[in-house]
Symmetry: C2
Subunit: 465 residues, 2 copies
């Protein structure tokens, strides 16, 4: 049913007053994420302030058969929150409470709308932190829904590994609480991880229980230049094989390093740069740094610099911290497609090198930044929105990178999710049986298909009984 | 349909010859696991040697509507493989091939029937290992199906964290391959982790891709006695908060230590014993041991001993390695109920102490062994099978321990699974909505309910659309 033919807005306003709006500016803001895909505004926006608000909204949408799209702060990149079939957007950004922090158990329960930096500020007084750090200051609910990760994943894992349980509202308005406070359990299907990464298509997540970590006693930062990506990747492979518990392993290609030199006034060699971070005791950090240094030098690394002093290690990592802005500054006024493939690390150097050749062949400007410890890298493909041909070439590059990664046994998205922007690439990654199983699960939990419709699963034939 | 009214056995024998049998001894062997629950033999057993065998068997069972139960080597403990509704048991223990080992990517793909020790022998030549170690030499498929873990979980995680993808045959005979070779992905529902821990109720797992690790350069082993469990648990909590990457953190209570002293001729203080293992470089292991030693001494620990010499650290850990046999030897001829609760670590000391009081009140002999880093512990409740009253008291203890753990926010099973032995405890752990969601997923993927029926999910009302 179209929202225009229903009383749903009046009904929701009767329950929640001015927390329900059809103001054009607010609708527009809720149809657009930080990606490059066309926006699609919802017909109405509900600002939920409680689980009861979410339940009421889901129940109303279920009753009228109207699409419902969960929304955090809109930092997704693949049109994950676009209301491509219209409907109601439920904004959870007012649900920001830290409900419990259990210092001894290293866990916390938070409302879905809290952002990761606000959470980390709240954890600071207990000497704890939550490590998952997508570039944006996303909400924990949004990070859960997209199975986000970031620079710490090589040591701390992704949202898949750090969500212990959650509370969610299913498509019929019923509330489920998954997981428990034990560190492990073999009691039933893992509904927690079924909902992590489901992008609002199976349920609206309202609370998340998270695994926390003690702040490291010492943090060391290092950088090292290489003549080619091969030596940098080989260093990473050897460090991981040796079991060095490296916290961050980041990579900038020579185009990105050049951009950083110009933007941040650095004088790094214009060559592939490996950035490493170590967490642990003073002895452990020094031991790890010494091991990685010798691996790096053995693989052609040069200008190895490292420090455990906060100001100095932040200076060393300046290029990484400013990478996004430096890249954008290469062509002011341009937009960008951020690719997001992830490949087995044995294929990473080839994948990056072949991608660089593609970039050159397509005459594009596109620096590369990688979470090299995971085999995940992003090409920031700049394009002038006033030149449709550039967008076409940028899209062509994205498609080539994805096909290459999938051909190497990798994925079209390491951490951004599918939304509707990568729907067309699901078939290249999952066989028909897997897509049918996903569709069957979706139909089981959301038979009317009201939750974030048109996302994640391409149209496929139904699973036969 | 009953197997007796069908041609299924003839049909399967036509396809697979003498790999399909109704011999009583083989049927009996396949209805009994290593637990204490009554056995339930299947009507026939198929020894699958290929994916095609599995597909043919599933398709035949689907066509006739006959239950199908996947079986590895039968080391489960909760009646997970009992054919309580009859049907066909599919034995995968002949599917033992290592299909690929990717040394640089630290992953392998294996057939489901390989056992963990056979796999680890095959990995040795590459200096790699797979860390998940349930007590038994289980198959990788069985470990995947029960979401197994063991003593290494505090550092390396459980099967949930170490299965990268799998191949499985769904109830309609279609084959799906989940996951890919990238270390992380946000492309669609996490079907891998939906099948991990599903105990054969959603699909028959035929291949598993696993995460591997480099053999540690140095392994250190330590033991330390405490006057009470409180000091041991506090030591563990502080070590984890400090981020010490301890590999193993095991606990024996005073009854278990006493049993070990008698069985293995040791002279450990009859007091709670903490056993610790460290993996890493020589420097890292020494640093970790020094940190944990000072934490232990600060919490009342005494007789701290540690070594990186293999023979010496194995001697130190003798009590742990022999714990099961030492416990059984306390009452020769007795059977045992192994409990398996897991609680938040902040509640672990209370949970163990209250459990010990219950054991004494019920006049049972029951040593306690814990994977203390995870909050998981096992009480081995010995009972004389010729005295039904003892079994009743042992069951009563199991129920009390479970109720206590669930009341503390924990789980009735940290690593053994539900089978039919713990079906009655699912309601104490999961709310109605969660059980309905599990049932909906089960119905979506196995609409006729042929896969391992009567396990995992208690009877509940259907999910309303």
């Amino acid at each position: 049913m179209s929202i225009l033919d229903s009383d749903i807005v009046n009904e929701l306003q009767g329950l929640m007053g001015d927390r329900v709006t059809q103001a054009v500016a607010i609708r527009d803001q809720h149809g657009r994420d930080e990606g490059w895909h066309p926006a699609a505004a919802p017909d109405a926006v509900v600002f939920a302030e409680s689980e009861a608000d979410v339940v009421a909204t889901v129940e109303a949408c279920a009753r009228y058969g109207i699409p419902l799209i969960p929304f955090g702060v809109g930092t997704s990149l693949e049109g994950n929150i676009g209301a491509i079939h219209g409907g109601v957007c439920i904004d959870l950004s007012r649900m920001t409470r830290v409900l419990e922090v259990n210092v001894e158990d290293l866990d916390a329960r938070v409302q879905a709308g809290i952002t990761r930096t606000v959470l980390n500020k709240a954890l600071l007084r207990d000497g704890l932190f939550f490590p998952i750090d997508p570039g944006a200051d996303a909400t924990i609910g949004g990070m859960t829904a997209t199975r986000a990760s970031g620079t710490n994943a090589v040591r701390y894992g992704t949202m898949k590994d750090n969500v212990l349980g959650l509370t969610a509202v299913l498509a019929d308005g019923s509330v489920i609480r998954t997981g428990n406070r034990a560190r492990k359990s073999s009691a039933g299907y893992d509904l927690t991880r079924l909902l992590v990464g489901s992008e609002g298509t199976l349920a609206v997540i309202t609370e998340v229980s998270l695994r926390l970590y003690g702040m490291p006693e010492v943090i060391g930062g290092a950088v090292c230049s290489f003549d080619g990506i091969g030596g940098a990747v080989r260093t990473v492979i050897e460090a991981i094989q040796l079991g060095v518990p490296v916290a961050r392993l980041e990579f900038l290609d020579e185009v990105q390093v050049d951009a950083c030199n110009r933007f941040s006034g650095l004088d790094l060699p214009v060559a592939p740069l490996l950035l490493v971070e170590f967490h642990g005791s003073a002895v452990a950090v020094a031991d790890q740094a010494s091991t990685v240094e010798s691996l790096a030098l053995g693989n052609g690394g040069r200008d190895w610099s490292w420090s455990t002093d906060q100001a100095e290690r932040e200076r060393l990592w300046t290029a990484r911290h400013q990478a996004y802005y430096a890249a954008k500054a290469l062509r002011p006024g341009c937009l960008a497609i951020p690719t997001d493939v992830c490949v087995p690390i044995s294929r990473l150097a080839d994948c990056v090198l072949e991608t660089r050749a593609d970039i050159d062949a397509l005459k594009l400007t596109a620096p590369i930044v990688g979470h090299v410890g995971d085999g995940n890298f992003h090409v920031l493909v700049l394009f002038d929105p006033d030149h449709p041909d550039e967008l076409d070439r940028a899209k062509e590059l994205n498609a080539r990178v994805i096909a290459r990664a999938q051909g190497m046994g990798g994925t079209c998205t390491g951490e951004h999710g599918i939304g509707y922007g990568k729907l067309e690439f699901m078939r290249g990654e999952h066989d028909e049986g897997e897509l049918r199983a996903m569709a069957a699960v979706k139909a089981a939990l959301d038979p009317a298909g009201i939750l974030n419709p048109g996302k994640m699963i391409p149209e496929i034939p139904a699973l036969t009984g």
